[in-house]
Symmetry: C2
Subunit: 221 residues, 2 copies
DNA sequence: ATAATTGTTTAGATGAACCTAAATTAGTAA
DNA sequence: TTACTAATTTAGGTTCATCTAAACAATTAT
């Protein structure tokens, strides 16, 4: 009595409920969902009833919703697909972080167990997507990875750029110029007291990045 | 008054009408469409009215449909996407020709001008998909490429394997074993009168393939 | 405690995409 | 020609996902 096919719409609802649940740590409100789905509260009520019927959410009138274990798993699978496609688009296709998300929003609904797992393998089991958000594993579990900004790293620590916080074209273009991208390996050489800029060793060369830049680059774990 | 968004369903109908139009060279019948879409004739009538409204098909009651120029273009763009994704899946992901088609059936509906064109570029502007069917260009025109089977090639002719006719796992596994795949470059060395087997030069090495194999491998143009 | 406000649900509709059953049309056979 | 048959369309329903307007519940202010 498992493996029900979900519609694209249902998947989007579950994903959004998951996100809101994480943010506010608790029941998710009808209006909040309506906002993120670009629909009206009435439509959300409707959908919540349907999702409840399918035992994907716990829904009590006037009290908001939470995901059931099954619903959470479904949500995480969608998120997994979304993020793996994002890595693919950005890493392998040179997509911008902007355009990226929109297409991933569509690709996340492609159903094929095989394809996602294969994608993950080809991409080298990335722990996070290009925005630095962790990628759930094939069992539908969210790993507990945390972003660590270069700004906060110790001297002599090594790492690999896993994402950026600021995704403006201006910033991304600058990164490109100084030869920093996702996957770039580095070592923290020193921090300049005067202006909080950070000295990095990037493949043997000394690169200095400002405090602002160091606040927007992160690695994982 | 152009660029209308088509639903996934509408796209599938257009694609199927295109195929039937090519096969039977002329008006396409309601029942034929119903068969290929796994729906009933009544549903097809419904849809034809809608597509007609949008000027994507020429529809006269009881007389079948044809695509309008706009409809044909839309159909070809879907086919273009389908086939490029197929090349991607088979060439770059090692997908089987079977599984391939099912997923391409979904991926063909991802909308992004950018992504398709980029995909095409990364794949090296393949003229045909792994089944040997030609890939429409970015303008929505179907090129007039033709498959030429190794069986029918002249001695000394060179080429590149562009696809296979038999897509059974047995055959594909065998090809793999003898080191032949899509993209493999070859030269026809000789044809053995006795059993019609063909001698190939593949990167300097002599490879002999049977008549059966030569009937199932083709190159283009 | 009562009233006002805000959030949420129900009622009643709509459009897309489908269905079954009944009517209609076109083409063929008598 | 007229009747029969096969293909097609219309009529009337269903489900999903949406909407607006009206009703109702919960919370907050007086
Ligand atoms: Mn995203
Ligand atoms: Mn989505
Ligand atoms: Mn195909
Ligand atoms: Mn399709």
């Amino acid at each position: 009595m498992n493996e029900q096919e979900l519609s694209l719409t249902e998947e989007n609802y579950l994903k959004i409920i998951y996100k809101l649940e994480m943010e506010h740590k608790g029941e998710v409100t009808t209006n909040a969902i309506a906002d993120l789905t670009n629909t009206k509260a009435a439509s959300v009520s409707d959908m919540l009833k349907r999702l409840s019927q399918k035992v994907l959410v716990n829904y009590i009138k006037y009290q908001g919703v939470t995901l059931t274990p099954e619903g959470r798993k479904k949500a995480l699978m969608v998120i997994r697909k979304h993020r793996l496609w994002e890595v693919f688009l950005v890493d392998q296709r040179g997509y911008s972080l902007e355009a990226d998300h929109e297409i991933a929003e569509q690709l996340e609904h492609i159903e094929s167990l095989q394809l996602v797992d294969q994608l993950e393998k080809v991409l080298g089991y990335p722990p996070v997507d290009p925005h630095g958000d962790p990628i759930p594993n094939a069992k539908g579990e969210m790993p507990n990875k945390k972003q660590i900004f270069l700004k906060d790293m110790q001297i002599n620590q090594k790492g690999q750029i896993m994402g950026v916080k600021d995704t403006s074209p201006l910033f991304l273009k600058y990164l490109d110029k100084i030869g920093i991208g996702i996957g770039t390996e580095f070592e923290i050489i020193d921090r300049v007291e005067y202006d909080q800029s950070v000295e990095l060793n990037i493949s043997g060369r000394l690169t200095i990045i400002s405090k602002e830049v160091a606040q927007n680059l992160f690695t994982i774990e």
